[in-house]
Amino acid sequence: MTATAFKTYRPPVMEVSEAGDELLEVAMGPHHPSTHGVFRMDVALDGERVVKLKPVFGYLHRNHEKIAEKASYLASMPYTDRLDYFCSLTNNWAYALAVEKLAGLEVPERAEYIRVITAELTRIQNHASAIGFLMQEMGASGTPLMYAFREREKILDLFEELTGSRMMCNYMRFGGCRVELPSGWLEKVKTVVSGLPHFIDETEALLTGNEILMARSQGVGVLKPDLAVNAGVTGVMLRCTGVNYDIRKVDHYGIYDRFKFRVPLGDHGDIYDRYMLRVLEMRESVEILKQALKDIPAGPIMDPKSKIRGFRPKPGEAYGRIEAPKGELGFYLISDGSPNPYRYRVRPPSLINLTILEDMCLGQNVADVVLIFGSVDIVLGEVDR
């Protein structure tokens, strides 16, 4: 395109809407400041309103599932940290659960308690960060995000003390956990957990009653229950529409039956509900943590039958799923008796929750597209795998 031709350059116009006026095509991303990682949305605007939205992802595809087919079961475990890099411990647990179902291993009591404690800590720091990022998109210049990160740092320090790394924990093994709790770790968890309600109250005081937040989020990006169920949406997005489906209660995996906790449900399915549900779920997680910390037994943390090397589960298939902070995270494994799986499939809640992004954004304002996308709370590592 020569300089002169470039001078009469007019922005590409996708097509004319029925109203006859030209649609303004705007590509948001992949380097748009608000997308959570590399993700592009081709949005067609009629004035300020969204007429068409095409999500484009795959920029972060790392071929995780094919690599898993060529690697041993254990070698895939550190890669599961990189799926939803905000919640590595719940990813590990889901994969370990699937392999335990496949190979028929039992997990000792103490390991089950450790899994619940680490999973609930992960849930809290994930929800806190999700709310922080949502407010960042709304323009609150990072204050809620910084409060969330202040708490998240405490939790990540606990993870570093236990597993050796803050975000890439690689802690669960088939049949239990890798390392015994370091001395004094449980006391530190107790102090952090006792500080959490104060943080949640602070976030609520800062945000829940805020009229601008209400104006920007109530009635925006509404998701209908039937669409949510048909699209396979899970997690907070589904419970916001009033559908009572929490895998901790449905599947009774791990030892969640021993703990008394409630599942909050929303009625409107809009962004405000997603924000409030994340806050209420954080409070429930604190309750679970208190109960788990109170009666964690002593004992082994690893099933003696499980082998580190040369692990060859008997041929068969298994699907292990847990209630990850982002939704139902599942691992489907087919074993043919050899040390590496025949098929290794991850059910990514972020990707499936994202399929209905266009339905939520149609007719909304372009400023809200970024908010709706932020309220879904996705991580590109899990979407693209």
Partner: protein, 171 residues
């Protein structure tokens, strides 16, 4: 003092005339609108020189603040901001010049005949207070009529824009 006029007056009048000419002759519509704004600014300066502070400031407020933006928005919304392809000189330019000269002559005649015989006495010192008093006492009727006129225009504009908006929501 250049041939009997103060330097500042000459400068502002040159600015105003240049702005007006540019507004007429430039090809790009938005450039014309911006040079029109320069003319408004020149006019405001002329008012201020004549010590009519209120007139000068309201000129800035009304014309530069509102009318200029209105003109520019109108140009943008009617997709006129592109560079026009057609030649800007229409064939019958001769008739144009003739009409312009006629109008100019009429205006010049009106200005010259209205000049007072003796040089004007010092301009009366008018304070904003007196303008307010006059508006509220002598000219209250015209003020109310203008107010009603503006409201009617406002409501008319909203109604004209209404179908477009309502159809949009109907989707």
């Amino acid at each position: 003092m250049i041939f009997g006029l103060s330097v500042v007056f000459v400068l502002t009048s040159i600015l105003t005339v240049a702005g007006a000419l540019a507004a007429a002759l430039l090809k790009n519509l938005v450039h014309c609108a911006l040079s029109l704004t320069v003319t408004f600014a020149g006019l405001a300066l002329l008012y201020l020189q004549l010590d009519a502070q209120f007139a000068g400031f309201s000129q800035i407020l009304v014309y530069i603040g509102a009318v200029a933006i209105l003109v520019v928005f109108a140009i943008l919304l009617t997709r006129g901001s592109g560079i026009p392809e057609y030649r800007s000189y229409s064939s019958s330019w001769l008739a144009g010049v003739a009409i312009a000269a006629g109008v100019f002559a009429l205006l010049a005649w009106a200005v010259v005949t209205s000049l007072p015989a003796s040089p004007a006495s010092a301009a009366p010192q008018v304070s904003v207070q007196q303008i307010g008093q006059a508006l509220m006492s002598g000219y209250v009727l015209p003020l109310e009529i203008v107010a009603v006129l503006l409201t009617v225009a406002l409501i008319g504009a909203v109604i004209v824009a209404m179908p477009e908006a309502s159809k949009g929501d109907a989707k």
